[in-house]
Symmetry: C2
């Protein structure tokens, strides 16, 4: 879901979450922001291989859905900071579970 438009939420909460963040890049953007506020360029560095275009699209959609906040500083060169909103921070346990399960999966793969 990269497109910016009105979203009808599905009845199932799992489907709702899948719709909002069930996407490779969005998950990793949240992972980055769980380490604190980041600038655009810092996010680019943390997200291996993401292009300006794709990062900027995802940030816009996530902001419009209330997951992250964008703050512009009138400095030169301009400084823009992204951070999680309250509800964005509530994704922390979910990302934590992803971390746990990913480690488990990797350890099992490694012992094959």
């Amino acid at each position: 879901m990269t497109e910016l438009k009105y979203l009808e939420l599905p009845p199932c909460p799992v489907a709702t979450t899948a719709l909002l963040i069930g996407d490779h890049w969005k998950i990793l953007i949240i992972r980055e922001l769980l380490n604190g506020t980041k600038r655009f360029g810092e996010l680019t560095k943390g997200l291996d291989g993401i292009s300006n275009k794709v990062l900027s699209q995802h940030l816009k959609v996530m902001e419009s859905r209330g997951l992250i906040e964008r703050r512009v500083y009138a400095e030169v060169p301009v400084k823009v900071e992204y951070s999680l909103t309250d509800i964005g921070w509530k994704l922390k346990p979910l990302i934590h579970e992803m971390w746990q399960w990913g480690e488990l999966y990797k350890s099992i793969e490694a012992n094959k």
Copy 2:
């Protein structure tokens, strides 16, 4: 990730999980199978609007990655059952977190 091929796992566990199940349909397939073993046709009914082709592709990839198991019964007409593997079941807390967060998000949206 619908394609069936050798997967190099990323160093980050979160990225690993995102790679394996960070996808709308796979999340919902797991949600379905957390309610127990299901036949192909039952999955189709539970996954609103999924086509035969897409369901079958995802099931194949998930089986090859060790998340689900496929069991064929020599009945007529043929009966095929899908279920979670051990590591598949370990996704339960993650899906539970998705449920929780989805409910929270929906309740906030509803009060806007």
